[in-house]
């Protein structure tokens, strides 16, 4: 039952990856890989969350996974890596946290500062920033390994 739910979630996550790939004008041949990558990152993150890891750590591991896979794909199909990696991590972007942070900021402005609003602002903001950082660092990690060697990846 849990596995079916996970697969359905991954399927839903594949849709945004393709949609955002279209905004970024990804070449047509790469679109299926974007979908696969989106589903994969979401699946990995959900599995890790299910193991009671923190959301930041699981996001980081998922981003690293797609970063490493992106290296292999880009070698094989001669494409720059961001073509695969960036649409794939789109489903993990912390839009909801950032939004709630902003809403609490606005209501602090109109209704005055209260403890509850302030704590919600800081909490959501910290979550959003740390998840973003986890994504970026996860993507950078594989290519930092390759900058040690002088050879370019593709």
């Amino acid at each position: 039952m849990v596995i079916i739910e996970l697969l359905l979630g991954a399927l839903w996550a594949a849709i945004p990856a393709v949609g955002f790939g279209m905004i970024f004008n990804v070449p047509r041949a790469a679109l299926p890989f974007c979908a696969l990558g989106g589903a994969l990152t979401y699946g990995v993150r959900e599995v890790l969350l299910y193991q009671h890891l923190s959301i930041e750590l699981s996001t980081f591991i998922a981003a690293t996974t797609i970063g490493i896979i992106g290296v292999f794909w880009s070698r094989r199909y001669v494409m720059p890596r961001p073509v695969y990696t960036v649409p794939s991590i789109i489903p993990m972007i912390p839009g909801k946290y950032a939004y709630e942070m902003m809403i609490s900021l606005v209501s602090m402005n109109t209704d005055g500062v209260t403890n509850a609003l302030l704590s919600s602002f800081i909490e959501n903001g910290l979550h959003a920033v740390s998840i973003l950082f986890a994504i970026a660092f996860g993507l950078v990690l594989p290519s930092m390994y390759y900058t040690k060697r002088q050879q370019p990846i593709i």
Binding site: I15, A30, V86, I90, G95, V106, I135
Partner: protein
């Protein structure tokens, strides 16, 4: 060599020097700042320096991909400048048709709202809101407005349409609908590129892109705040 369609700095530098070597130059040095490229070409004993201005362009990965494949082609048959020039002339933006992109974006934002746990009414409202938003964004972009204004206005429209869900309690999960429908404006590529650049030693490029992405986010939130203030949405 205007490679500024959202490519990563390191990629630009590597490509330029590889292409130069393939075409028979001794070495190529390049310096990047967010709005321009300075390129020095050393051929034998003489050197040529050019500065090119980079214009703000929408992100287009297919152009980046085509340039990469041209570079690899140039390495395979060196010193064939006619072939390379003809290939560069032939670069074209591979745009997806409008009628395909708009529903695709609508569907992706709706999928986001579903993942965050919205009900089915919320799903369809998100679909509508982000599809309308995407149409507005493309329309404004084609009229060559500044990117900042486009983002703010699109966020405004998206939030207006999404607040339909508050109308008569059409959907129980209104705040998820509101937050998912503006997700199409998340500047993911600039943020990731900024981080990648900064980590690889191009600090000034990284900061430039980070500032640009932050400005875009700020304008988006301005649009949302405007819509919320206009409607007097409250209650969470």
């Amino acid at each position: 060599m205007l490679l500024e369609y959202g490519a990563e700095s390191r990629l630009i530098e590597q490509l330029a020097s590889r292409l130069g070597r393939a075409l028979g130059c001794t070495s190529i040095e390049i310096s990047l700042i967010p709005s321009a490229i300075v390129l020095t070409t050393l051929i034998g004993e003489s050197s040529v320096t050019t500065t090119r201005r980079a214009h703000e362009q929408p992100i287009n990965m297919s152009i980046v991909h085509q340039i990469v494949s041209i570079c690899i082609l140039a390495e395979q048959n060196p010193r064939d400048i006619v072939l390379i020039e003809r290939k560069i002339e032939n670069i074209h933006a591979n745009h997806y048709p409008k009628w395909l992109v708009i529903p695709a974006i609508g569907l992706s934002c709706a999928a986001f709202s579903h993942l965050h746990g919205a009900d089915w009414a919320g799903f369809w409202i998100t679909f509508l809101a982000s599809a309308v938003g995407m149409a507005v964004r493309m329309e404004l972009s084609s009229r060559k407005y500044s990117l900042l204004i486009v983002f703010a206005f699109t966020a405004f429209i998206c939030t207006l349409v999404a607040s339909l869900s508050l109308y008569h309690g059409l959907s129980d999960t209104a705040n998820i609908v509101l937050s998912s429908s503006v997700l199409l404006l998340v500047p993911g590529f600039p943020y990731i590129n900024a981080m990648l650049d900064a980590f690889k030693g191009y600090i000034s490029m990284g900061w430039g892109r980070w500032a640009q992405a932050t400005l875009l986010t700020l304008m988006t939130s301005l649009g949302i705040m405007l819509a919320i203030g206009l409607l007097g949405v409250k209650g969470w």
